[in-house]
């Protein structure tokens, strides 16, 4: 003979272990004659379900009745948090995309042709589309050369997403070599001695010295 508290915990355990809703009949069949004594299994189950319904009031989950029986269900109000468990892992952007973005950032306004010239390979349309859809780049005009190619620049959204107030906050190009030396995996460039020098001075350096 089991008592009502025991029965309640068995029903609780069964509902939590089951893969879907469980009918009252199936729950009743969990109990043996020995468990029951003179009592009706279905009555025992119903009383247990009542108790469990009361117990889960105000919890993260609730007891719900659906067509095929009873189940515990996470409350809808917690969906915003719980759903984060199941968010897909973000894919990673390709190197080609990052290089394209970097060139647009540093050399804007630029055309696809400009980017292709520096990268040495064609820029795929899907990269430009991805960057546009992400809201990081936009067409800012057209160059008045044959074909009137579109000029691209970065957006405010780009600054927001990279937590920048203005592009000024990015390291000037001249510092990149040393930046890569400390952060990149395959950098062979030595840090330039003038990396902390303000931009204005750098500008005056003869190109050949860099």
């Amino acid at each position: 003979m089991i008592d009502a508290h025991q029965a309640e915990r068995i029903v609780e355990a069964a509902l939590l272990a089951a893969d879907g809703p469980v009918s009252i009949l199936r729950l009743a069949n969990l109990f043996t004659a020995e468990d029951l004594g003179e009592r009706s299994a279905q009555t025992l189950v119903r009383e247990a379900l009542d108790a469990l319904g009361r117990r889960t009031a105000g919890r993260g989950y609730e007891l719900v009745r659906v067509a095929s029986g009873f189940r515990f269900q996470v409350r809808q109000e917690f969906s915003p948090w719980v759903s984060r468990l199941f968010d897909e892992r973000a894919p990673r952007y390709s190197r080609a995309l990052l290089e394209t973005l970097a060139l647009i950032v540093y050399r804007q306004p630029v055309t696809r042709g400009d980017i292709e010239q520096v990268r040495g390979v064609a820029v795929s349309s899907s990269i430009m589309r991805t960057l546009s859809e992400r809201g990081w780049i936009q067409a800012v005009g057209q160059r008045e050369t044959p074909g009137r190619p579109t000029l691209f620049g970065t957006t405010r959204r780009f600054l927001d997403d990279f937590n920048l107030q203005s592009l000024d906050q990015l390291p000037p190009f001249e510092d990149l070599q040393s930046f890569v030396a400390t952060h990149g995996e395959d950098a062979q460039a030595e840090p330039t001695p003038d990396e902390t020098r303000p931009l204005a001075e750098v500008v005056q350096l003869p190109v050949g010295e860099q």
């Binding site: 939590l16 892992r89 290089e99 001249e174």
Partner: protein
């Protein structure tokens, strides 16, 4: 090595000191002459996991200590089992024969007169004893492992139905560092000198160039030169805007027009020109 329940059951029975089940009848004692009805032998043999298991069984049947094996006796029994298996044309794994050879070798070495030397020559049984002991430990470890509570057999995860949710499309995030590394990499491959020359205006100027271009093109007409300057940005902002305009004009991305001296200057999208 199938997982047939008969074999498992046999293994379990054997643990309880039952030698064999024949037509449901339990034999819990080995006949003195070691004769075992063929059916039972088959059941028994299938329950062995290999020669070590069989050997261990024979030793334990005799209530012998592994450390004190009567090799001659055990070898005798082992070989009789092997012979029976052969006679029954049971599929005899090569390992059983290998073990038989090893036992025979140990037996012969033990029969040789012991050299008087003090160099502590290893007991020929040592290797066998070591293997038997380790195998016995393994058997026990396997039994212990099987007794641990196990998910889906003894343990059940507690789950509730998931709430409905809109699956968010997660965008990749890019670290600023990645961007820098990408740029450095591409520039290393490209003509660095030319890149430097283009780079000279500095980022604020480049950024402002995009801003101005976007404004001018959005206006799709004229934008007053003055309107592009925001006094709130201070002297530095004015300089940046000015440099940006000069650079845009130099690259022919905008036209600067003035109808008369000292009249307002306007900025407009460039008119198609003939390139000479």
């Amino acid at each position: 090595m199938s997982d047939a329940p008969t074999r498992l059951d046999a293994a379990r029975e054997r643990r309880d000191n039952v030698v064999a089940l024949i037509d449901g009848k339990v034999f819990d004692e080995l006949p003195a002459d070691l004769y075992i009805p063929p059916d039972a032998l088959e059941v028994c043999l299938e329950a062995f996991e290999g020669p070590l298991d069989l050997l261990l069984y024979l030793i334990r049947r005799q209530n012998l200590d592994i450390l004190d094996i009567e090799v001659a006796e055990v070898t005798e029994q082992y070989l009789r089992y092997i012979d029976l298996m052969k006679a029954l044309k049971l599929d005899l794994a090569g390992e059983y024969l290998l073990m038989a050879a090893m036992l025979a070798e140990i037996k012969s070495r033990l029969l040789l007169p012991q050299p008087a030397a003090e160099d502590e020559e290893e007991d020929p049984r040592a290797e066998l004893v070591r293997r038997l002991q380790e195998y016995e430990r393994l058997k026990r470890a396997a039994e212990n492992l099987d007794e641990l509570p196990r998910q889906d057999r003894d343990l059940f995860g507690a789950h509730a139905g998931k709430p409905e949710w809109v699956k968010a499309r997660v965008q990749p995030t890019v670290d600023l560092k990645e961007l820098m590394v990408a740029l450095a990499e591409v520039l290393r491959r490209a003509d660095l000198h030319q890149t430097h020359a283009v780079q000279l205006e500095g980022l604020s100027v480049r950024e402002r160039m995009s801003d101005i271009l976007a404004r001018v093109n959005a206006a799709s007409g004229f934008v007053a030169f003055d309107a592009l300057f925001d006094p709130r940005e201070g002297r530095r902002g004015v300089v940046v805007t000015f440099l940006a305009l000069l650079e845009l004009a130099r690259e022919a991305l905008v036209d600067l027009v003035q109808n008369a001296p000292f009249s307002p200057i306007y900025v407009r999208p460039p008119q198609a020109r003939e390139t000479s």
